[in-house]
Amino acid sequence: MSKKGFYGVLTMLALTAAPAFAQGTAPGTGGVKWGVVGAAFAIAVAAAAGAFAQGKATAAACEGMARNPGAAGAIRTMAILGLALIESLVIYALVIAFSVQGK
């Protein structure tokens, strides 16, 4: 990741963290529900990284198919398999998000 992107992510984190901390100090709310925060954060990061990886995989598969249409069938199978394996990691994050959400 470029330096600019890294600082952008840091800024976004800071901006999202501020309301969460503000909510925690509000009287009568009973504190932050860290489970919800953690669940949302987990699925957000997993979805972002998974989407990036899937985009790269799809781009490479499309390029391969365009260059060599004869191998399209094999490439398609491998691409779908790889996409599903990438997506399954996001799904783990989703399952974990559901399980920590109520805590």
């Binding site: 199978t77 779908i80 398999l81 599903a84 997506e87 399954s88 799904i91 783990y92 989703l94 399952v95």
Partner: protein, 252 residues
């Protein structure tokens, strides 16, 4: 999430037939394992739906088989032949020529069960059995036992265990542990992937459906249709790859 239309009636019928489940006699662990839905519930939704699907398949396919003709196939025969031949060709491609017929029974059963149970999510009065982790764990365990049994049958117990050792002798203890862990992780990954995909899709469609019951959930349902077909394919092809890895002969 709401339950399917059979959840209440079946459990009321079972309670009138057998009485309430013996929850109080069990230790808390067994209670959470056998009756997680509480004291008034014999069977959970995914079990009822799986039985329903099993009964549907066991009644429909043998009856439909009587109408199949070699000369003039009807649309149902064409659809079934398409599915079965696709699975057979897939196994032939991955495992090796001629293996399709050998491994078709279990993998074809997986295909039919997972495909139809994924598609059950589109009917509001049904719940897809595969959206529950327990059903998919059962499926993944079946696949796990099957590919290990096939590996043992092909190589013998010692020969199959030798697969895990790796090529170098002094690294064998390390390789063995790693291989066993990675093989056990296949159960978790197979079952979690299927249940998470189908269950997540179902929940997301339900949320959209709760917002606006028309037009808004349709894109989500289209994604769900693609996901249902794709997850069936993924489960079957991964099982096939695992079988191929278990029965493969090492070439020297």
């Amino acid at each position: 999430m709401e339950h399917s239309f059979l959840y209440g009636p079946v459990n009321r019928f079972l309670i009138s037939l057998l009485g309430a489940p013996p929850v109080a006699k069990l230790s808390p662990g067994w209670r959470a394992f056998l009756f997680p839905d509480g004291e008034k519930i014999w069977l959970q939704d995914n079990v009822i739906m799986a039985f329903l699907l099993f009964a549907f398949l066991a009644l429909t396919l043998p009856l439909a088989r009587r109408t199949f003709r070699k000369r003039s196939p009807n649309w149902f025969q064409n659809a079934n032949e398409m599915i079965v031949l696709a699975v057979r060709d897939l196994i032939d491609d991955v495992v090796g020529h001629g293996a399709g017929k050998k491994y078709l029974p279990l993998l074809g059963a997986f295909t039919y069960f997972i495909l139809l149970s994924n598609l059950m999510g589109f009917f509001f009065f049904l719940t897809p059995p595969t959206s529950s982790f327990q059903t998919t764990l059962a499926l993944a365990l079946t696949s796990f036992i099957y590919f290990n049994a096939q590996g043992v049958r092909e190589h013998g117990v010692v020969g199959y265990l030798k697969h895990f050792m790796g090529p170098i002798l002094f690294l064998a203890p390390l390789m063995f542990v790693i291989e066993v862990i990675s093989i056990l992780a296949r159960i978790v990954s197979l079952s979690l992937r299927l249940a998470g995909n189908i269950g997540g899709e179902h929940i997301a469609t339900g949320i959209f459906f709760g917002m606006v019951p028309i037009l808004v959930p349709w894109p989500m349902m289209l994604l769900g249709l693609i996901g249902a077909l794709l997850q069936t394919f993924i489960f079957v092809i991964l099982s096939t790859i695992y079988i191929a890895g278990a029965v493969a002969h090492e070439e020297h």
